[in-house]
């Protein structure tokens, strides 16, 4: 990335300065830095990326619907960020380990999440949504930026063992203001940890625009920590895939951490509790709608004759089927019994908590003796 010292209030300019492979109209642009990383990607793989993004958008829409219908306490939509999430996550090897934020629905999808995994936490059934060891994804993190340090610590372990793995952490533009994210970059650089930082700059941290977080392109900070970075068009799935392959190769080959800023846009609210009409103007939203990541890849595939109406219909049907499974898993969840509230606080017996559990069990039992 070339240094840029001007403020970045103009989001259109922001995007134009990013690395890309697919233009917004779907045409392929030469990119000297990234092309080599996706030279092997053929039409079938492109169709698979398209399918992933369509399925993810459908999962996301279902999450919003389930929340609106009172089935989830909250949902954090990722509409608009499909390319950034799918493109980067599809570059990972199975043994790599991901430390995500709460918005990474597409990342856990790409890591093999099961239908209930998307909603278990938001429904309030469990503190974490899935088995971290099975997906090799840490629990979704709600504290902003805390997970970046966890990724660095994990990467320290990888380096210690000389294992061919990489730790990856996802966070948003708002997180870059947090001390933890900056500390993570310092620790990562100091120990040359095999970790990849993926910042999805979606332009809004609830109601705070990215200009409140940064007066300088976010990817431009990483070199100051001694970490090479790339700034990519986050709505270009091919550019995201290529950039992530670059970053992973860099980290895996012992060269230390790498940093990607995927410049994208959160089309929906921060969460279902948020009302973006209070702080965001329609023109900005519409300008980003014209850069829809799914439409872009679809246009590209249509132009090359690699996507037919039949394909699109099949993909949409597959997405609907996934959403249906997700809904069924959500509605079929059985809440654990009352004493489960005490389960798993400690790994070993804790007399204080055991006493409370016993007291509560006796209290509950008193209702049974009444009946």
């Amino acid at each position: 990335m070339s240094p840029q010292t001007t403020p970045i209030a103009d989001t259109a300019q922001d995007l134009e300065l990013s690395e890309r492979i697919l233009a917004p109209d779907g045409s392929r642009m030469p990119n000297a830095r990234l092309d080599a990383f996706v030279a092997d990607v053929d039409a079938a793989q492109l169709r698979a990326l398209h399918r992933d993004m369509v399925v993810l958008r459908r999962i996301d829409a279902e999450g919003v619907a389930l929340q609106r219908q009172g089935q989830l306490g909250l949902w954090a939509p990722c509409q608009g960020q499909e390319a950034a999430q799918i493109g980067t996550a599809r570059a990972l090897d199975p043994q790599d380990y991901v430390f995500p934020s709460y918005r990474e629905t597409g990342v856990i999808y790409a890591r093999g999440a099961q239908p209930g995994d998307y909603v278990r936490m938001w429904r309030g059934e469990e503190g974490a949504a899935y088995d971290p060891a099975a997906l090799r994804v840490a629990p979704l993190q709600i504290i902003i930026g805390a997970q970046t340090l966890h990724a660095v610590g994990y990467a320290l372990g990888i380096r210690h063992e000389n294992a061919p793995e990489v730790a990856v952490t996802y966070f948003g533009d708002g997180a870059t203001s947090q001390g933890d994210v900056n500390e993570a970059m310092i620790f990562a650089a100091s120990y040359q940890a095999p970790v990849v930082f993926v910042c999805q700059n979606n332009h809004w941290a609830i109601s705070e625009p990215v200009t409140v977080q940064s007066q300088y392109p976010i990817a431009g900070r990483a070199p100051g920590f001694g970490i090479p970075s790339l700034r990519v068009d986050g709505n270009d799935v091919l550019a995201c895939l290529a950039a992530m392959r670059w970053a992973l190769e860099h980290a895996r080959s012992g060269k230390g951490p790498a940093y990607i800023e995927a410049v994208t846009y959160r089309m929906g609210p921060h969460t279902t509790a948020d009302d973006p009409t209070r702080y965001r103007d329609d023109a900005e939203w519409e300008s980003w709608r014209d850069r829809d990541p799914i439409a872009r890849l679809e246009a590209h595939l249509r132009a090359s004759g690699d996507l037919t109406d039949e394909h699109v219909a099949e993909t949409q049907a597959a997405a609907d089927a996934v959403a249906k499974e997700m809904r069924a898993a959500c509605l079929g969840m059985v809440t654990r019994p009352p004493l489960a509230v005490f389960d798993g606080v400690y790994a070993e017996p804790h007399t204080g908590l055991e006493r409370q559990r016993d007291e509560y069990a006796a209290y509950l039992a008193s209702f049974e003796s009444e009946a």
Binding site: Y97, F99, E126, G127, A128, D131, P132, A133, A138, P139, I143, A146, T148, L149, H150, A151, V152, G153, Y154, A155, L156, G157, I158, H160, A167, G179, D180, E183, A184, I186, F187, S190, Y191, D343, G344, V345, Y346, A347, E348, H350, T351, G352, L353, R355
Partner: protein
Amino acid sequence: MTQLTLGKALGAGLRQAMRDDEKVVLLGEDIGKLGGVFRITDGLLDEFGAARVIDTPLAESGIVGTAVGLAFRGYRPVVEIQFDGFVYPAFDQIVSQVAKLHYRTQGRVKMPVTIRIPWAGGIGAAEHHSESPEAYFAHTAGLRVIAVSNPEDAYRSLRQAIASDDPVVFFEPKRLYHHKGEVDLDAPLADAPPMGLARVVRPGTDATVLTYGAMVGTALQAAEAAEDEGIALEVVDLRSLSPVDYDSVAASVRKTGRVVVAHEASREAGLAAEVIASVTERCFEYLESAPLRVTGHDVPYPPAKLEKYHLPDLDRILDAVDRVLDRPHSLTGADA
């Protein structure tokens, strides 16, 4: 048995834990070549190398957050926070991450992180170097909190904390780092009493003084002075602040019927309040008088020249003992 200072006993405990389990790694500021500002980690870099004795950047949240990631990878990180007052920048990582990950994941992710904190006052230190933050951590579900008071305990409890699959906040009274005591370096860990147990340090029949850390010594001095007046104080070292060993505490209270709780930390919402509430719930019918607290004042830790007015001393403990015994006491000069 070997004569060791509390500081050396802690160092020996770390060394043994690292020899026992290669997954034990240390992280902290200045813990490598310098051996830590209190020299607790002295010599460990030479024996175990920089990959296991990790000098870190000066960022407490970073140190603890990195330890969380190492635990995800199957390590047993032992973190040194340089001084008690420096733990606050790491507070979020400790209470929101270290404490909760096991619960959030229904036990799928273990957090065997030990957080060592040189702790509390009495050494004439600069601001932020004499804090007693134990109540914050004892209040947090998912953490265990240990406070040691002698070399033998330090050596054993530290190894137990590191071996535990739960996270442990481990308080080391820096006032006692140079105090010597007998340590059995070869005693098998499996034979040691669990680290959660309280211990009667001095048996007595007239009143129970419950305390921990460096205040154990102060309480013992008070007990000796009381003996001159014919009063037999029982001194109990809580040793574990989460969980508190209420079985042992209650056994003592049932014997004496009178309770004083002493700690350096300030009073409001402190450990003494919790201990007295629990004692009252469990032993109300055995109590001969209202339990009393002897604590630091509810002020920021004072400047070094004033700390002697803040820290409970044996006279303040004895004054409280007089009051729980319904004896004439110094505050009013009259019967209670």
